[in-house]
């Protein structure tokens, strides 16, 4: 029996700036560690994060004090377990399947990608993060969800407001005031789109849920769409920006990726290297032990998949971006019942469509000053800017 060691001095600001050296040290010295700044026990080894996520009976997603419920004005499937979670998730899963992507969406995504690439100016420095990664992620998601009428700007704003609210652990008023306003906007737009989806059933998530034989309640349909908005823009946006950065700062790898058309490998390596969602929470449902360390009932564990994805047990030189490394499973999409529902979509849209089209369109694309790229984030992580010259 042993109590987890405590990292008294670590701050969220340090984790937000650059968590990777901290996780590396934790994996070596204190792989299971209490972090008072986050009010969580951190798990930094791949075997532990996977074990916890694969066992929802012992490690529940239901967090009774989550700010997410307040931000979404609903108890969402992200924080449910068992049958309830399965039913709500399966209600929208058909819209995210590889078959629907191939039959319904792939051509549209290529068209959207081409359109957004057309807008980018040649010969001058352009921020791909705001000029491409964010808007294209928003547009593709709008179509998948059946919100074609909503602008990129609104999709991105709603997404950020929901994320800010869900991360408002101090329960400050202002972020919830903004999420309340966004919820009202979204509800009004969803209401207005119902007649179209009922009249013309299609494979978008909204339509699939509305027209199901045994539909889930309307309130949960709305909550599901909001979860997809909150969780479906930042990730492909950050994945795309991260992979572009990785390839541009490793030109020899970029050349080899082009030669072999190894875009799928580039995608997997990018999300392994800097997982867009870095950490998730699970609550211990009884007194437990992990590797001899006591985990008291009710304590919240933070599974750090960002750290698991660089675990020395699985990866040689995991700190480096290396598309051609020996393959090993990563946890960027999580594991267990809450495994990312958008995994297929992101592989198709980012890996198969956006990356090859970008590098084909701009073979001379250059990141002149990699040191100008600002990386940030503890829960979600990626570059905040990506100033490149396109030729």
């Amino acid at each position: 029996m042993a109590v987890a060691p405590v990292d008294e001095t670590l701050t969220l600001a340090e984790l937000t700036r650059d968590p990777y050296p901290i996780y590396k040290r934790m994996r070596a010295e204190t792989p299971i560690v209490q972090v008072p700044a986050a009010n969580r026990i951190f798990l930094t080894k791949a075997k532990h994060t996977k074990m916890v996520k694969d066992d929802p009976e012992l490690y529940s997603s239901d967090d009774p004090v989550t700010p997410m419920r307040r931000a979404f004005l609903a108890h969402t499937l992200m924080r449910k377990d068992g049958e309830e979670h399965r039913r709500e998730r399966m209600a929208m899963q058909p819209a995210f399947s590889p078959k629907v992507i191939k039959t319904d969406w792939a051509d549209l995504y290529r068209k959207i990608a081409a359109e957004y690439l057309d807008r980018l100016p040649r010969g001058e420095t352009v921020d791909l993060f705001t000029g491409l990664c964010g808007p294209v992620a928003a547009r593709i998601l709008a179509h998948i969800l059946g919100l074609d009428e909503v602008s990129d700007a609104d999709m991105q704003r709603w997404s950020q407001v929901l994320i800010d609210g869900a991360g408002n652990f101090g329960f400050a008023d202002e972020p919830f005031a903004r999420s309340d306003a966004a919820n009202a906007e979204m509800d009004a737009v969803f209401d207005s789109l119902i007649p179209r989806h009922m009249a013309e059933p299609n494979n978008s998530a909204f339509s699939v849920m509305l027209n199901a034989k045994d539909p889930i309640p309307r309130s949960q349909i709305y909550a599901n769409i909001k979860i997809a908005i909150g969780g479906g823009i930042n990730e492909p946006r950050d994945a795309l920006a991260t992979i572009i950065y990785g390839l541009l700062t490793n030109p020899d790898q970029l050349e080899e990726v082009k030669r072999q058309e190894a875009w799928a490998d580039a995608f997997e390596e990018g999300v392994r290297w800097v997982a867009p969602i870095q950490a998730s929470s699970r609550r211990a449902t009884r007194d437990l032990q992990i590797d001899g360390i006591d985990i008291p009932e009710g304590v919240t564990l933070m599974t750090i998949q960002a750290s698991a994805n660089r675990d020395e047990d699985l990866y040689e030189d995991g700190e480096a971006f290396n598309v051609f490394r020996k393959k090993a499973p990563h946890q960027a999409f999580g594991s267990g019942p809450h495994h990312c529902a958008g995994a297929h979509i992101s592989r198709r849209t980012v890996g198969e469509i956006m990356l090859p089209m970008l590098f084909e369109r701009f073979p001379g694309i250059k990141l002149d000053r990699p040191e100008d790229v600002v990386w940030s984030g503890f829960g979600f992580r990626g570059p905040l800017n990506l100033p490149v010259k396109l030729t």
Binding site: K50, K53, D54, P56, R86, R89, M90, Q93, P94, F96, S97, P98, K99, P329, F333, S335, G336, P337, H338, H339, A341, A343, H344, R347
Partner: protein, 107 residues
């Protein structure tokens, strides 16, 4: 212990020994079989452990689990009558010698 043979799309075969009580997916993953990703870890949430049960073994592997059908619809490769999620096939003595075929893509 029971024997399982995995047949890759190119016809190459790998035979492993696995513990009764484990799933076919778990046996594949712990033996490093290519072509079984099992990203969700056996929660029936991802369809990346899709396999085709050999015709000779269909009776013994039984029916698809509740909820397996809808997830199989989300598999990347062609859905066939013999399609199963390998995380839902539990190994028993009766499955000693089981042969499963792997699809050409999982994700």
């Amino acid at each position: 212990m029971v024997q399982i043979t995995f047949v890759q799309p190119d016809g190459s075969r790998t035979t492993i020994d696995a513990n009764e009580g484990a799933s076919v997916m778990e046996a594949a993953v712990s033996n490093g079989i290519d072509g079984i990703f099992a990203e969700c870890g056996g929660a029936m949430m991802c369809a990346t452990c899709h396999c085709y049960v050999d015709d000779d073994w269909r009776d013994k592997t039984g029916e698809r689990a509740d909820g397996e059908e809808i997830m199989l619809e989300c598999a990347a490769a062609e859905l066939r009558e013999t399609s199963r999620l390998s995380c839902q096939i539990r190994l028993t003595g009766a499955l000693d010698g089981l042969v499963v075929h792997l699809p050409d893509e999982q994700a």
